[in-house]
Amino acid sequence: MKKITVEYGVDSINKQVGSGFTIGDLQEDDAIKGALGFGDNTKALINGIEQDRKTVIPDGATVRIETAANTKAVA
């Protein structure tokens, strides 16, 4: 197990997760999404650097979730 901090806007939570927990797992975790209020269209940053979904989150890391830009819908 490892401890991570997730930030979204001015809110943040601390969470214990499994050792193989990835950025993608975080972005799809309904409990974290519900607690912080983010949706499906996000990107994740550690120390200001955008992370790949397959990246395993290091123990003690702070992951900042940001809303990603969407593209214009086709009429």
């Binding site: 806007g9 209020g37 949706g39 200001g48 979730i65 940001e66 809303t67 830009a69 969407n70 214009k72």
Partner: protein, 231 residues
């Protein structure tokens, strides 16, 4: 300067730590690199006619201008449903007209303009519209023409000027006259609970938002641009 710290460890041993500090003679480019992500906040930088004061968050390559606004001009199609005028953004047949929505005090709206200096001119780098609650969380309003991260699909307009003030004024003029269509619309249900008007003899009065908590009709957002907004 030298400082000595005596540390008593958990196992009872004692450690001496010596800290030496000296001022480095750093060159300009070193300072620039170290301060690349540092921004400076300045309140009440300039007056925007008809809107109010603009605050600036100045970075190394751009400036984020925050203009707190108290209204949203909605040039869109509307329909009266149960004596309440509501927007019909996707409609092709309802009457199109300009209606001004006045924000209640609990919805803190901020219009944002990014400007970048480009040789001898200043360029508009984007427009955003954020709504903040009392806890300073940012939200995307249930409006079309707003991307998920709250950037505004403004349509084409001239974004190159001599000064940042002209960029901000031009952006707000575009915001004032743009049509709100359904390009980025997900659902109109939230919009019709949020933007409601009572038709009167000569105008339309803004009605209260039809929700106990207005944020339930919006999507919470968090972006690097939003972090630089000055409320």
């Amino acid at each position: 300067m030298e400082k000595i710290e005596i540390i008593i460890n958990d196992n009872g041993t004692i450690t001496e730590r010596t800290i030496k500090e000296r001022n480095l003679k750093a060159e300009g480019e070193v300072l620039d690199a170290l301060t690349a992500d540092v921004t400076r906040k300045n309140h009440n930088v300039m007056q925007i006619p008809g809107w109010g004061m603009a605050h600036a968050n100045v970075g190394l390559t751009d400036t984020i201008w925050s203009i707190p606004i108290d209204r949203i001009p909605l040039k869109a199609r509307f329909r009266v449903i149960n004596s309440v005028l509501v927007p019909m953004f996707a409609s092709m047949t309802d009457l199109e007209m300009p209606v001004v929505w006045k924000a209640p005090k609990e919805v803190r709206l901020v219009f944002v303009v990014r400007t970048e200096r480009n040789d001898d001119c200043v360029v508009v780098g984007g427009n955003w519209l954020f709504a903040f609650n009392k806890d300073n969380n940012g939200y995307r309003l249930p409006l079309p023409n707003l991307h998920d991260e709250c950037s505004i699909c403004t349509g084409e307009f001239d974004g190159t000027y001599d000064s940042a003030q002209e960029c901000v004024i031009a952006s707000l003029e575009q915001f004032n006259k743009s049509k709100w269509n359904s390009d980025l619309m997900t659902t109109v249900e939230q919009s019709q609970k949020f933007f409601r008007f009572k038709p009167t003899n000569e105008t339309f009065d803004t009605l209260p938002i039809q929700a106990a908590d207005w944020t339930t009709l919006c999507e919470k957002v968090s972006t690097a641009t939003m972090d630089r907004v000055i409320l």
